[in-house]
């Protein structure tokens, strides 16, 4: 392919025997490439974007400092971003809230139920593989699969064909502003339940069977075992899973772009989509940068949580 994979420098040049200088040389070789790539292509761009969010940002350059105006416009004057004047609210940011609430909870609930049920049948690995498959597939392909399932014609769309059997008129799953978010969240759920199942199944298996047996002997019902033993013991994996899913939602783009382009109108936009839309087709780089900064601000508590979790882990 003719690709320059960075090769470490000649090992003999490191002088492995001499402690002082060799550490510096090894650091340069081992850490240097990563630090350089992270600084130039991740840290610097992040700082640039944060600064650009306070600028008009014509052509992506610093043209006119506007203070908080981009944020003010997004949060108070752009009903496509967030609109509190209706009930329930609407707009991209609100759609992210819907995604976080419904996608995260349904994925975890179904994942837990499937993981628990699958441990009790012989075809456990088959059912887990089937549910997990969508994880390997591109969001673009998931989108095509589900556009097809949701197709308005009952000769093409499976869902409308099934409804047709019960005499229900075809539903425009992706064309109705009131339904589109639910339809998209369902696709997201379908794509992520396997991930939750695998994670939670591993967590459940780590619970010692003696505890469960003891509870059974003491006469605990299966529902009791589920609620009093399984759920508490997988609560840490569940919180980690919830965080991963929430991060997925904040970064969500491909599925929305391919399935609806944020439509009908702007009904199914999410912030990850808005950032792209405002910046590239829209050419409003200052506004796009402000959306990116809002994404970052939402993720900061999660960043802190991860760093804290990691700190306590490395101490223990």
């Amino acid at each position: 392919m003719g690709v320059a994979v960075p090769q470490p420098a000649d090992p003999t040049a490191e002088g492995g025997d001499k402690p002082g200088g060799s550490v510096r040389a090894s650091l340069l070789v081992f850490l240097g490439p990563a630090v350089l790539l992270l600084l130039v292509f991740l840290v610097y761009p992040t700082l640039y974007t944060i600064a650009l969010a306070f600028d008009r940002g014509r052509r992506g350059e610093f043209t006119e400092f506007v203070g908080l105006r981009n944020f003010e416009q997004l949060l108070t004057q752009d009903p496509n971003f967030i609109n509190f004047s209706t009930f329930p609210p609407s707009g991209a940011l609100w759609n992210n809230v819907l995604w976080i609430v419904f996608y995260t909870s349904i994925v975890i609930f179904l994942g837990l139920i499937i993981a628990v049920m699958a441990t009790r049948v012989r075809y456990e690995s088959i059912i887990k593989t089937v549910v997990f498959l969508p994880m390997a597939i591109a969001a673009t392909a998931l989108a095509v699969i589900w556009i097809f399932v949701y197709a308005p014609s009952s000769k093409i769309g499976l869902l409308n064909a099934i409804l047709g059997q019960f005499g229900v008129a075809p539903v425009s799953w992706l064309g109705d502003p009131g339904l589109v978010n639910a339809s998209l969240i369902a696709v997201g759920v379908w794509g992520s339940v396997g991930f939750a199942t695998v994670i939670l199944s591993a967590a459940i298996k780590s619970i010692s069977s003696e505890i469960i047996e003891a509870a059974r002997v003491d006469g605990a019902s299966e529902i009791h075992i589920f609620r009093r033993i399984i759920v508490p013991m997988v609560s840490l994996p569940i919180s980690v899973l919830a965080i991963t899913l929430i991060v997925n939602v904040i970064k969500l783009f491909d599925l929305i772009f391919v399935m609806t382009r944020g439509g009908p109108g702007t009904a199914s936009r999410v912030i990850g989509f808005t950032m792209y839309q405002e910046s590239f087709p829209g050419g409003q780089f200052g506004k796009g940068a402000a959306v990116a900064v809002i994404m970052l601000i939402i993720l900061i508590p999660i960043m802190i949580f991860n760093v804290r979790r990691f700190r306590t882990e490395s101490v223990t």
Binding site: V130, I145, M275
Partner: protein
């Protein structure tokens, strides 16, 4: 579905001996079988439907649902020929490979080496710097688009694949360093000390001890990153600007906006996009699941 249905009555675990016991046991679990069967259907039908459709003649697709195919059993490979040929998916497939391979190998190499430094070379501020890497895992790619385009465009990196390689690499590093460092620190200290005493250079320790012992972790990260890049649309949308360089994801999104209802093309195109990830998944499932567990439930 209530929880009561999902987890039926007390099932004391003992191996059933008589036929009667087996039947009773099966009957006890009937609700579980029904629910899991239903879940299996819901998770398979959409994908199977698309697969069946991709082999149906265009006229059949418009006339009857894919679930009625089994009455006629008329299949064709014409859709694939058309989408690969005149719709240019062969070129897009090659582009996806050209984007994915370096975008996997470069971060794999760089992250392994950095992870080694974070686990087995002592230097000041090491832990603080590592926590910064943990924090960087969360930065969304959207944050980098505008400045990276400003950086890439003047030097021609948005023409061709240079820009997309660099962007994928940078955003893959934090997770890679995190995952591999957590694996590397579990390697036996004695082994590494012994090699050092035997006079192995730092690079020698890395190459002859750390890497060979860490194949599962490195493979898991490599598979992840490969699938991530293979399946990515957003980065390609922003950083691959020449139409003839577009990967499969972008070409299929484009097909969809051009021929929204040409199901024979879309179905075949989507399957071409799915083939490699599915093959990787089935052949390397073990590594894949291990990586998943290591990455999230640490």
């Amino acid at each position: 579905m209530t929880q009561a249905e999902a987890i039926p009555g007390p099932a004391v675990q003992h191996s059933p001996t008589t036929l009667a016991e087996r039947i009773v046991r099966f009957a006890n679990r009937t609700p579980i079988h029904i629910v899991l069967g239903l879940i299996g259907v819901v998770w398979l039908a959409p994908t199977v439907g698309l697969l069946v459709t991709s082999f149906r003649p265009r006229s059949d697709i418009q006339a009857t649902g894919w679930w009625e195919t089994f009455a006629t059993l008329r299949f064709t490979s014409e859709n694939y020929e058309q989408v690969l040929g005149s719709q240019g998916l062969v070129g897009a497939f090659v582009n996806t490979v050209i984007i994915s391979v370096p975008s996997t190998l470069i971060p794999l190499t760089v992250a392994s080496m950095a992870a080694f430094a974070f686990s087995w070379i002592k230097f000041p501020l090491r832990d603080s710097l590592f926590l910064l890497v943990v924090a960087l895992m969360m930065v969304p790619v959207q944050v980098a688009f505008i400045p990276l385009l400003k950086l890439f465009a003047p030097v021609g990196l948005t023409q061709g694949f240079g820009g997309v390689w660099l962007a994928h690499t940078a955003f893959a590093l934090p997770f890679g360093i995190f995952l591999l460092r957590n694996f590397f620190i579990t390697l036996p200290r004695d082994l590494i000390e012994a090699a050092r005493i035997d006079g192995a250079s730092t690079f020698g320790v890395f190459r002859t001890i750390v890497v060979p012992l860490s194949v599962p972790a490195i493979a898991a990260y490599g598979i992840f990153q490969f699938l991530w890049v293979w399946n990515d649309l957003l980065m390609a949308l922003v950083f691959v600007q020449t139409g003839t360089d577009w990967p499969l994801t972008r070409q299929i999104a484009n097909l969809l906006s051009q021929y929204g209802t040409e199901w024979h093309l879309l179905a075949a195109g989507a399957f071409i996009l799915m083939i490699v990830p599915l093959a990787v998944f089935f052949s390397l499932q073990r590594f894949f699941v291990q990586g998943l567990l290591a990455g999230s439930v640490k």
